[in-house]
């Protein structure tokens, strides 16, 4: 009896420590973002306060209106212009979608080639896909900026799409190569003997079988491109072509007053897109989809 009681006590203690650690870990992850959301709902007078108030006294959507270019009459417009976030969201969305399509199309072909054929140069091409991980983007951008300037592709969504396609294609090709090599080539050969032809077999067998992985990679590319900062900062910074990240970064003020409420409302809006996508691909990410990029 005594020993049973002791064992129970020890297990209870171990369990409490375990759940305690989980809760601390969760708080560390969630609290910063939650604070951002809470602050974005507070009126300016409540934001600039020392005391910590998790439940706002008065909830306001003024900050969100400000990001859409609507400033309510009567609010002091010390912060000058409002933000036209819709324009930047539109720019970003166009870039994200087009890049995604290009990158997946190219990588489907390239990945198929690397997974299904043996040829001279196969290993070096595969290795160079991985080697791109080690390139400092900032160094690449210096000559790239000059080249893009020569072709009038600075401040152009097409220039940005070209750059992002190139930046994402090594990762997606590597992933597609992995997915395709897990499918037995026998399946394709069966289809081919049934008179499908190689192209028919590719579209009827290979593509449908890789579809779940393909969609996951596609969505992950969307997140990467949406969140990118340095490349659009260098290549596109006029109001016409700016992405939402660049527009947001310009709101960060290092000296003097800033409209913190508006900045945080815009931050919440910007985070929505990747967070929604994240819900769909979460299980692939934990399942190690991105780890595939690391493993040989």
């Amino acid at each position: 009896m005594q020993t049973y009681h002791l064992k129970w006590k020890r297990e209870f203690l171990a369990k409490s420590i375990f759940y305690g650690l989980i809760i601390i870990a969760l708080l560390w992850v969630v609290v910063p973002f939650l604070w951002l959301v809470v602050s974005s709902l507070k009126p300016a007078s409540d934001i600039m306060r020392t005391e910590i108030r998790w439940i706002p006294k008065r909830i306001t959507i003024d900050n969100y209106l400000w990001t859409f270019g609507i400033e309510k009459a009567g609010t002091p417009s010390a912060h000058g212009q409002t933000l036209n976030i819709l324009v930047y969201l539109r720019n970003t969305l166009i870039i994200v979608l087009v890049t995604c399509v290009i990158s997946i199309m190219f990588s489907l072909l390239g990945g198929y080639s690397l997974a299904r054929f043996r040829f001279v140069g196969r290993t070096s091409i595969a290795l160079s896909l991985l080697a791109t991980q080690f390139f400092p983007v900032i160094l690449i951008l210096i000559p790239w900026y000059i080249l893009m300037g020569k072709f009038h592709l600075i401040d152009s969504l097409w220039g940005l799409i070209l750059t992002f396609s190139a930046v994402t294609v090594p990762f997606s090709t590597w992933m597609m190569r992995g997915f395709i090599s897990t499918i037995s080539p026998d399946l394709e050969e069966c289809a081919m003997t049934d008179g499908c032809g190689r192209i028919g077999a590719f579209f009827r067998i290979t593509v449908p079988l890789t579809l779940p992985g393909l969609v996951a990679v596609m969505l992950w590319i969307c997140v990467i491109v949406w969140n990118a900062f340095l490349i659009p900062l260098v290549l596109c910074n006029t109001p016409r072509t700016k992405t939402v990240s660049v527009a947001l970064s310009e709101l960060i003020v290092f000296h003097g007053p800033a409209n913190w409420g508006g900045i945080m409302a815009a931050s919440v809006i910007t985070s929505l897109f990747p967070m929604i996508i994240f819900m769909f691909i979460q299980k692939y990410m934990i399942g190690g989809m991105t780890v595939g990029a690391v493993k040989g």
Binding site: F106, F135, A166
Partner: protein, 288 residues
């Protein structure tokens, strides 16, 4: 595996074309640019000056400081990431109710845009209205406000903590999948042999995680060193040049001052330093 003549090459044309256009060509022309003076404000035509850019770099105190800072930045970030990712992976590897939700939440910061992360942490570290000062003052842990991002003693820990919040997710996922690939029998055998939990971790888990950990740490080092976003968004390399590192230094030399030749030289120096890690990584990779 098929033997092909032309088809495999044709299929790879778009991918390889992009690689050459956006990686190979710029790299070669960046290396060429190192030996030229190209100051876009003065002139659009590059002038050959030999190794002068490199000797200027050697004398540039800001560049030397940014290289020294990069050691803190890269070392600190990776130690912090490894500790958090390993701890969280061990927690998330235990079977319990809600495990799926907890795992999902753990990687959530990884998908939040880096600019938002910068804003978020600048707000938390804000001297007057920040959450951190507020909490520490009301808990009477601090007696006066701290300017977390401009105080020379708190600057690096603050930047590193914010960066880890955003980036540990990748390491976490890698460690977790590494942990899950360890067969349960190994642990059972260890328990039968009477090994304590700590000893099991030290002599079984860690050695079996080594292959994953090596690659992840190599990538972590290079990614942090090459990173521009976090330091730029949190401090812009300031106050003064106190928190300047490689990425923001090259960016400011090129796209603030239009000193392209000089910036390329600084960029190439950093690239050469990271090449060692790249070679170790590539030799570790096996392609079937």
């Amino acid at each position: 595996m098929k033997k092909g003549k032309l088809t495999p090459y044709l299929l790879l044309v778009p991918v390889v074309g992009l690689l050459i256009l956006v990686y190979a060509y710029p790299l070669v022309s960046a290396i060429k640019l190192c030996f030229y003076e190209l100051y876009l404000i003065h002139s659009m035509t590059p002038k050959f000056i030999g190794l002068r850019n490199f000797s200027r770099l050697w004398d540039d105190e800001v560049f030397r400081l940014s290289m020294k800072n990069s050691i803190y930045w890269v070392g600190g970030s990776n130690l912090c990431n490894i500790a958090i990712a390993m701890g969280f992976a061990l927690l998330a590897n235990v079977k319990f109710r809600f495990r799926g939700v907890v795992r999902g939440t753990f990687i959530l910061p990884w998908v939040i845009p880096v600019v938002v992360v910068g804003i978020l942490w600048r707000w938390i570290y804000n001297t007057e209205w920040g959450l951190l000062n507020g909490a520490l003052l009301s808990g009477r842990i601090l007696s006066s406000r701290v300017s977390w991002l401009s105080n020379s003693r708190t600057m690096w820990p603050s930047i590193i903590l914010a960066n880890s919040w955003k980036t540990y997710g990748f390491m976490f996922v890698c460690f977790l999948s590494g942990l899950q690939s360890i067969p349960l029998e190994v642990y059972e055998a260890a328990t039968i042999d009477g090994a304590s939990k700590w000893k099991t971790f030290l002599y079984i888990t860690l050695p079996l995680l080594k292959p994953v950990a090596t690659v992840v740490i190599l990538l972590g080092i290079v990614w942090t060193f090459n990173d521009f976003n976090m330091v730029y968004l949190l401090t812009k390399g300031g106050p003064g040049h106190a928190s300047m590192v490689y990425g923001p230094f090259v960016y400011m030399q090129s796209f603030w001052f239009y000193h392209f030749g000089y910036a390329a030289a600084a960029g190439v120096v950093g690239f050469l330093m990271m090449i060692i890690f790249g070679i170790i990584y590539l030799t570790q990779t096996k392609i079937d």
